[in-house]
Amino acid sequence: MKWLELLGVRTTKFIEEVGQVFLLFLQTIKWSLRPPLGFRNILKQMEEVGVRSIPVVLITAVSTGMVLALQSHTGFKRFNAESLVGTVVALSMTRELGPVLTALIVAGRAGAAMAAELGTMRVTEQIDALSTMAANPIKYLIVPRLLAGMLMLPILTIFSDAIGIAGGYFVAVQVLNVNPVVYLRRTTDFLEYDDIYGGLLKAFVFGIIIATVSCYKGFNTEGGAEGVGKATTGAVVLSSMLILISDYFLTAILF
């Protein structure tokens, strides 16, 4: 029964943590409504989360689109419906893979960096120092990160969608010899605004999750360098889990 007990403890801890993350999110929202917002800080975080994540996001997206084309082509060929590859690639990228893969990558890259940075600030008393200078740490540290996450995740997802579709097109047309005109028609005909914007809405939520979870983990770091390490892994694990869980519910609600 030991493991059952452990499972119970873990679950309780997980739920508790999610609750605290949510409370932090509410507080951050509250603080983000109080001007002035440090524009410089937001910009800096937007660069950190958005601009610097572009290469890895693009590489992932293009390879995903290509693999998707290759794999689905094998299936559709059997029904002489090769052009449907375009539909599959476009729908999978915009609705699911674009937002989710982007979010997982950003969680691993920028989320980990956020947790590590804030964790270090916590253990070296920099967060305390902020408080003593009457600068609210949530407003100064978390608000810019949250705003950057909320804004940049959808933008990264747009790129991911576009590049993924382009990758699929390249493989289908250049390698598998699917008729390019028909392929494009199948892509645009079946793709709806809802698919694209639903995906972006997902990305928006994922951006919130990544920023809030990572900041939460960083803020609650204890125990020096080791603690910072733990906070960093914890942030990536928790935000990835929440991304995947919420993805299910978002899909159920949105589409």
């Binding site: 305390d128 003593t132 600068a135």
Partner: protein, 252 residues
């Protein structure tokens, strides 16, 4: 004497099983510098963090300028904190900001000065702590003693009413240490600053203190002027100020 500026009333604080403060009572009056001495790990830094509201006591009260910290809401606490400057034991410089941005942080938050003016003010404060030409460096590129002095410059940047120094001279050479002591005295003379300083350096303590308080086993064992402490008959105080390993304070 004068009115009380900071009052600690029956403070208790534990971290798990580690009972750090067990009924601390201490009053710091307006314009005086109180030096807190005590063994390593006895809870001196914890006291300072209670004074500025970074830690909440398990029991007891912290009253600053007549206001009970536990009753203050976020914003009122922030307002009160604008009266404070604090030097952290390990400086706690923002390592994503340049030295001058660290020193000018409060100026940027609380005034409408532009970058050039802030940098000018920061350079001036840095020169007061004996630093020149470091304003464009990052904190990671500084030595421990330099960081300490940047931290001090940051603490005095807004010319606050209350200054908390956590070991201002530790890690400095004797000449620089004395210069810092002079600076602390200068701040008091010029701005009537109320101060609370922690130090292990008794020379420094005698020099800057109006009164000295000795913390031991979670309680203030004695409070008095430097002379009273120097000549105290309390065996604990006597052992500490003479720096002897023989006496009631056990090292192991």
């Amino acid at each position: 004497m004068g009115e009380p500026m900071i009052q600690l009333i029956d403070l208790y604080k534990s971290f798990g099983d580690n009972r750090v403060l067990q009924g601390v009572n201490l009053t710091i009056e307006r314009g005086e510098t109180m030096v807190i001495i005590g063994g390593s790990g006895s809870g001196k830094s914890v006291i300072l963090k209670h004074i500025i509201g970074l830690m909440k006591p398990d029991r007891g009260k912290v009253i600053v300028v007549g206001q009970d910290l536990s009753t203050l809401r976020e914003r009122a606490l922030d307002e009160l904190r604008k009266k404070f400057g604090m030097l952290f034991q390990y400086a706690a410089l923002f390592d994503s900001l340049m030295v001058w941005e660290n020193v000018g942080f409060s100026l940027r938050q609380q005034t409408h000065l532009n970058d050039r003016e802030i940098k000018q003010a920061a350079i001036e404060k840095l020169s007061m702590v004996g630093l020149r030409g470091v304003e464009d460096r990052m904190p990671a590129d500084l030595s421990g003693g330099m960081k300490k002095r940047v931290g001090l410059a940051r603490a005095i940047a807004m010319e606050p009413e209350i200054l908390l120094y956590d070991e201002p001279t530790t890690g400095l050479d004797p000449i620089m240490a004395d210069a810092i002591n002079e600076l602390i005295l200068e701040m008091k003379r010029r701005l009537q600053v109320t101060g609370a300083a922690i130090t292990h350096d008794m020379t420094s303590a005698y020099k800057i203190a109006d009164r000295i308080a000795m913390l031991y086993q979670g309680k203030i064992q004695a409070v008095g002027t430097p002379d009273e402490i120097k000549n105290s008959s309390n065996p604990i105080v006597h052992q500490f100020v003479t720096g002897s390993s023989i006496g009631p304070i056990k090292t192991v």
